[in-house]
C-alpha cells in the first residue's frame, strides 16, 4: 500500500468524508461515502505498522504526532470504526446532510484522538468530538433538545478547556507533550487532566450531561452518541492513568449508583444512559487496578460495550421511530409487531448481562477476576452487586417493558430494513466474540489476541466450569427474584415523571439563583444608576463652579495662581528628594 495511505489516520479519512458529505445533495452518494469511509478506515488500520509515528509535524516548537497505533489504542480505534459503519447503515432510512456528515465526522474525531501520538493532538480532536456531536442532539429539533445541546456543549467545552490547561502545565514543567502515563495526581497538571477526562467519562457528580442529552437526541443521534465520547475518555484514562488507585473507587461507585436511578426511570433511552455510566464504571475500576489482566479487561469490555450498548440504543431507536416514544409506561407488547427488533434487543440485553456465550461474559469476567485478585473485597462486592443491577435495568427492564409486559395495544410496522441489518450485524458480533474458540483464533480468542497484553490474555480462561456456574447462579437467581417480585406485586410500576439527579443543581438551583439575581438587578440596577447619575451631575456642577473661568478659583485670584503653587510644590519635592538621596 502507498506510504501516503498507510500514514493516513483513519479518523482523518472519516472527518474529511463527513465534512464532504454535508455538501453532497445526492443521498445515495452521500450515504455511500458514510459507509465506505469506515470500511476503508478498517483496511487502513489493519495494514498499519504498530509503534511508529506515521505522521509528525513541527509547529511553534511543538512536535505533533498525528497517527500512532499500538496495542492499547488499536482495539478502541477498531471498535470506533465498526460502530461508525453500523451507525451509517442504521441511518440509511433518513435523508439529512447535517446528521450524516456530523455523525461521520464525530466518529472520525474520536478515532483521530485515539490514534493521537501527543497531548496537543489529543486535545484538538477531543474538542472536535464535542463540536461535531452537539449537532446530533440539535437534530431532534425540539426546544428541549436545543437547551440540552447547549448544556451538553458547555460541559464538553469545559472538559476541553481543562484539558488544555493541564497540557499547558505539563508542557511548562516537563517541556514534553508525550502521552506518558502519570504516576501520581500530584504531578504538575495531572489533576486537571484527570478532571477533564473525568467529565467525559461521566464520573459521579459530573455525569448528568449524559442522561440529560442522549435521550433528547434524534433517533439516529442517540445511537451514534452512545459509542464514542465516554469510551474515548476510557481510552484516555487507560493511556494516562493506569494503576491510579483513585480510579478503583470512582469506578466502583460509577457501577453502583446508576442502578438505583435506572430502576425508577421511565424513559428507556435514559435508562440506557444510566447503563452507560454503569458499564464505564467497570472499565474505570479496572484501569485503576492497572494490572495486565485488569487493563486487558478494561479494553475488551470497552470493545464489547460499544457493540452491545449500540445495539440496545438501536433497538430503542427503532421503537422510538415506529411508536414515537420510549416511555416504559406507554410501551409493552411490541414483540407482536416488531419481532426482529425484539430478538436483537434481547441479544443486546443478554450480552450486557454477561450470560455465558455472549460478549460481556468473556470481557467482564477479566475485570472481576482482576479486582478479586487484589483482595479488595468491598470493591469486588460492589461490582458483583452492579452486575445484578445491570441485569435488572438493561437485561430485563428494557426488553420486558418495551416488548413484553402489559400490552400497550400499539400495532406498528417492523423497523426499516437498514435498522434491522445494523442490529443484526451488531448482534452477530456480540455473539461471535462471546463464543468459545471452537476453532483456534475464533470466538473470544480473536478478541483476546488483540488486547494490550496478549500473553496474559492467552493464559486467561473464561470458560471454566467455575466461572460459568458462578455467573449462571447470579443471573438465574436474579431473574427468579424479578419473577417473584412481579408475582408478589412488589415491582415498582413504571410511572411518567422526571427523576431528579445532579442536574437539579444547575437546572433548578443554579438557574433559580441566576433568575433571582436577574430580578434583583432589574430593580437595584436602575436605582444605582439614578444615584450614580445624580452624584456625578452634582460633582460636575461643583467642579464647574470651582474650576471654570467663571468659577470660584478664578474669581478672586490672579490667573496663574494654580501654576505658581504647582511649581512651588514640585520644587519642594525635588529638594526633599535631593536631600534624602
Amino acid at each position: 500500500m502507498p506510504t501516503f495511505l498507510t500514514d493516513l489516520n483513519p479518523g482523518w479519512l472519516l472527518i474529511i468524508a463527513g465534512v464532504a458529505a454535508m455538501f453532497i445533495k445526492q443521498r445515495t452518494v452521500r450515504q455511500a461515502m458514510t459507509i465506505i469511509a469506515p470500511i476503508l478506515g478498517i483496511l487502513l488500520l489493519a495494514t498499519t505498522q504498530h509503534g511508529v509515528d506515521h505522521l509528525t509535524y513541527n509547529a511553534l516548537g511543538l512536535e505533533l504526532s498525528f497517527y500512532r497505533v499500538d496495542s492499547l489504542n488499536f482495539l478502541f480505534g477498531l471498535a470506533f470504526l465498526i460502530a461508525a459503519l453500523l451507525n451509517a447503515i442504521y441511518a440509511l432510512h433518513t435523508d439529512n446532510r447535517m446528521q450524516d456528515g456530523m455523525a461521520t465526522a464525530y466518529a472520525g474525531a474520536a478515532i483521530a484522538a485515539t490514534f493521537a501520538g501527543d497531548l496537543m493532538t489529543l486535545f484538538i480532536f477531543w474538542e472536535i468530538t464535542a463540536i461535531t456531536s452537539v449537532f446530533l442532539i440539535l437534530r431532534a429539533g425540539t426546544r428541549a433538545s436545543y437547551f440540552a445541546s447547549l448544556r451538553y456543549l458547555g460541559v464538553q467545552i469545559l472538559s476541553g478547556v481543562l484539558l488544555l490547561d493541564g497540557i499547558a502545565y505539563v508542557w511548562h514543567h516537563t517541556g514534553s507533550l508525550s502521552l506518558t502515563a502519570f504516576t501520581s495526581l500530584n504531578e504538575p497538571g495531572a489533576l486537571i487532566i484527570f478532571i477533564a477526562f473525568g467529565i467525559k467519562a461521566a464520573f459521579p457528580f459530573l455525569h448528568n450531561w449524559l442522561q440529560d442529552s442522549y435521550p433528547k437526541a434524534s433517533v439516529v443521534g442517540a445511537v451514534v452518541l452512545s459509542a464514542f465520547t465516554t469510551k474515548l475518555a476510557v481510552y484516555a484514562f487507560a493511556r494516562m492513568f493506569p494503576g491510579q488507585d483513585e480510579l478503583i473507587w470512582i469506578g466502583a461507585i460509577m457501577t453502583v449508583f446508576p442502578v438505583f436511578f435506572a430502576v425508577i426511570e421511565n424513559d428507556l433511552r435514559r435508562v440506557l444512559a444510566y447503563s452507560t455510566n454503569n458499564q464505564v464504571g467497570f472499565m474505570i475500576c479496572a484501569i485503576g487496578v492497572g494490572t495486565p489482566l485488569a487493563l486487558n479487561g478494561a479494553v475488551a469490555h470497552a470493545f464489547a460495550d460499544i457493540l452491545f450498548k449500540g445495539l440496545l440504543f438501536m433497538s430503542m431507536g427503532a421503537v422510538l421511530y415506529r411508536t414515537g416514544t420510549t416511555k416504559a409506561n406507554e410501551l409493552g407488547g411490541l414483540y407482536r409487531s416488531m419481532p426482529w427488533t425484539t430478538l436483537f434487543c434481547l441479544v443486546g440485553a443478554i450480552s450486557i448481562s454477561a450470560m455465558p456465550l455472549f460478549s460481556a461474559f468473556v470481557t467482564k469476567s477479566m475485570i472481576l477476576s482482576a479486582v478479586a485478585s487484589t483482595g479488595m473485597v468491598v470493591v469486588w462486592l460492589m461490582l458483583m452487586f452492579a452486575s445484578a443491577g445491570v441485569l435488572e435495568h438493561s437485561g430485563i427492564k428494557i426488553p420486558y417493558f418495551a416488548f413484553f409486559g402489559h400490552d400497550s395495544g400499539k400495532r406498528v410496522k417492523e423497523a426499516p430494513f437498514n435498522m434491522l441489518l445494523a442490529m443484526g450485524m451488531a448482534s452477530f458480533l456480540c455473539i461471535a466474540i462471546g463464543l468459545p474458540a471452537f476453532l483456534p483464533s475464533f470466538g473470544y480468542e480473536w478478541l483476546y489476541s488483540l488486547l494490550p497484553y496478549p500473553v496474559e490474555a492467552a493464559s486467561y480462561q473464561p470458560f471454566t466450569l467455575g466461572h460459568i456456574l458462578a455467573q449462571l447462579q447470579l443471573l438465574a437467581l436474579a431473574v427468579f427474584a424479578f419473577i417473584l417480585l412481579q408475582r408478589l406485586g412488589l415491582y415498582p410500576p413504571e410511572k411518567p415523571g422526571v427523576i431528579l439527579d445532579t442536574d437539579w443543581l444547575y437546572r433548578k438551583v443554579g438557574y433559580g439563583a441566576v433568575r433571582w439575581m436577574d430580578t434583583i438587578w432589574s430593580k437595584v440596577g436602575p436605582a444605582i444608576a439614578a444615584i450614580a447619575g445624580r452624584l456625578s451631575s452634582r460633582a460636575y456642577d461643583n467642579m464647574v463652579a470651582t474650576f471654570s473661568p467663571r468659577g470660584m478659583l478664578s474669581r478672586n485670584l490672579f490667573s496663574g495662581g494654580m501654576t505658581l503653587w504647582t511649581a512651588v510644590i514640585l520644587a519642594l519635592v525635588l529638594l526633599v528628594s535631593f536631600l534624602t538621596s
Partner: protein, 146 residues
C-alpha cells in the same frame, strides 16, 4: 400460495420460488398489526399460565445451579465466594434490594414531567407515517425548557 410452475421443470426452481413466497409472507405484517414472525419467535410467551411455568422453571433451575456447587469445585480468589450458592444468594439479594429501593426512591426523586419546563415531544426524525406526529416549527412547538 399456488405453484404455477409447469410440470417437467427442475424442482429447484419451484423450491426457490416457494421459499421466496414463504419469506415474503413471513415478512408482511397483517391487517391487525401482527408480524408473522412474532408467533414463530415469541408465540411461546402467549401460552396459558406462562407466568407460573417461568416461575417454577426458574425456581428449579436455581436450585439445580446452587446444588451444582456441591459437585463442581469453584476456585475463587476470595475464599468466602467458594461457599455453596454464594453467587446465587448475592444475585438474589442485590436484585431484590435494587428493585425494592425503587419504591422509596421513586417517591423521593420523581417529579412531574414538566418539572424543568415543557417536556416536549419526540424528535423530528421519527416515522413520517406515524399518526399524530407533532410538527415542529422553526422555534419548535414545545414550550419553554431550561
Amino acid at each position: 400460495m399456488t405453484d404455477e410452475t409447469p410440470p417437467g421443470r427442475d424442482t429447484s426452481g419451484r423450491f426457490v420460488k416457494r421459499a421466496a413466497e414463504t419469506v415474503n409472507a413471513m415478512s408482511r405484517t397483517n391487517d391487525e398489526g401482527i408480524h408473522p414472525m412474532s408467533k414463530v419467535l415469541f408465540g411461546w410467551t402467549e401460552a396459558k399460565n406462562i407466568g407460573a411455568i417461568l416461575f417454577w422453571t426458574l425456581a428449579i433451575l436455581s436450585i439445580i445451579l446452587v446444588l451444582a456447587d456441591l459437585v463442581i469445585d469453584r476456585h475463587e480468589y476470595l475464599h468466602f465466594a467458594e461457599s455453596i450458592g454464594f453467587f446465587g444468594l448475592w444475585g438474589f439479594i442485590s436484585f431484590s434490594f435494587v428493585v425494592l429501593m425503587g419504591w422509596p426512591l421513586g417517591r423521593l426523586l420523581r417529579r412531574d414531567e414538566n418539572y424543568y419546563g415543557d417536556a416536549g415531544g419526540p424528535p423530528d426524525d421519527i416515522d413520517p407515517d406515524l399518526e399524530g406526529k407533532p410538527l415542529h416549527g422553526p422555534n419548535g412547538t414545545h414550550g419553554g425548557h431550561h
